[in-house]
């Protein structure tokens, strides 16, 4: 397969991930942070995220098993996951975290347990999608190609300073 075809495959998968909301524009920000000195930055950060997930899931499972569930602890963990998932652009995971936090606020254990399952499912799904994406990127780079992901000029939260 030539560079153009590989590029097209990579772009196609990236577009798919965005369309399915597995990814949002924050991921393209990560790609922008890569250069010769840090060619695998996005891959490293995403890998860190999934490692982090394992630890957090373990803590969450433990917390949710307790006879008296400490919803504050659960919420703190979900908040962390919400932050890091949004930092890598894993939009669907962030979305589940937001709902999860509402259940924590309500002290709704059933809702939390359901969210927990959804969180595990969404994380596994996006992990799979990332594995495909990074593999395609690797193939493209090995063939001498390069990637420039579009940085969508969508309305930004911080375009207008908050200062008074």
């Amino acid at each position: 397969m030539n560079v153009e075809q590989l590029k097209s495959r990579f772009k196609g998968h990236y577009d798919f991930m965005v369309a399915e909301k597995f990814l949002d524009e924050q991921f393209s920000q990560l790609q922008q942070l890569q250069d010769e000195s840090t060619p695998d930055f996005a891959f490293e950060v995403v890998s860190l995220f999934f490692e982090d997930c394992q630890k957090i899931f373990h803590d969450l499972d433990r917390a949710l098993e307790q006879p008296m569930v400490d919803f504050k602890t659960v919420d703190n963990n979900v908040h962390t996951l919400k932050g890091s998932s949004s930092s890598i652009g894993a939009a669907r995971v962030t979305h589940v975290c937001i709902a999860f936090r509402s259940f924590c606020d309500e002290h709704n254990l059933e809702g939390c347990l359901r969210s927990m399952q959804e969180l595990k499912r969404e994380t596994a799904l996006v992990k799979n999608q990332f594995e495909i994406l990074f593999k395609l990127e690797q193939q493209l780079l090995a063939a001498g190609g390069s990637i420039t992901l579009p940085v969508k000029p969508s309305p930004q939260s911080n375009d207008h300073p908050w200062f008074m």
């Binding site: 860190l48 982090d52 890091s84 949004s86 930004q156 375009d159 300073p161 200062f163």
Partner: protein, 191 residues
Amino acid sequence: MMTDGVFAGSDTETHELHVLAVDDSLIDRKVIERLLKISCCKVTVADSGRMALQYLGLDGETNVGFNESSAFKEIPVVIMSSEKVLPRINRCLEEGAEEFIVKPVKLSDVKRLKHHIMRDEVEENEEKSSSQGTLKRKLDDTNDDDVVFLSSPPSSPLSTLLSSSSSDSSPSPSPSPSPSSSPSRKIKMSD
């Protein structure tokens, strides 16, 4: 409130902004560090308010002289948070934060902030040099941070650095007294 933030100022010799980025999330630390480096800032990261205070020599262990501590009051603080709650944002700004940015932080945010802070630095230095001759802030090698990007949980001792002036009656999460005077540029970390 789990918020993150930055303190910043420019190194008078190289004009490179030195940023202390504080965040308890490893992933967010890596991202902000990279965002800042790519924007030509010198970066130091801390994983907690405690570590940040230690680094700045304000943890009570290190003897910090009057000049150094008053210099810290000049350091602009930028709060970063994934929570976009207007009353909290206003509170941060009222209590002296330079700016508040919503996570996830983008390159354009860092560029804009850097420009804003360096422009302020230039204006301040110009004022100072016209009235007093060249005034170089002499800080310890380890304490030459100009910006702190602050992200730490509410119970962080960084709030001691950032507690408001004595006239503020609202409770601070940490009981330690802050360096006196100048209410500007001080922020209270709160839930």
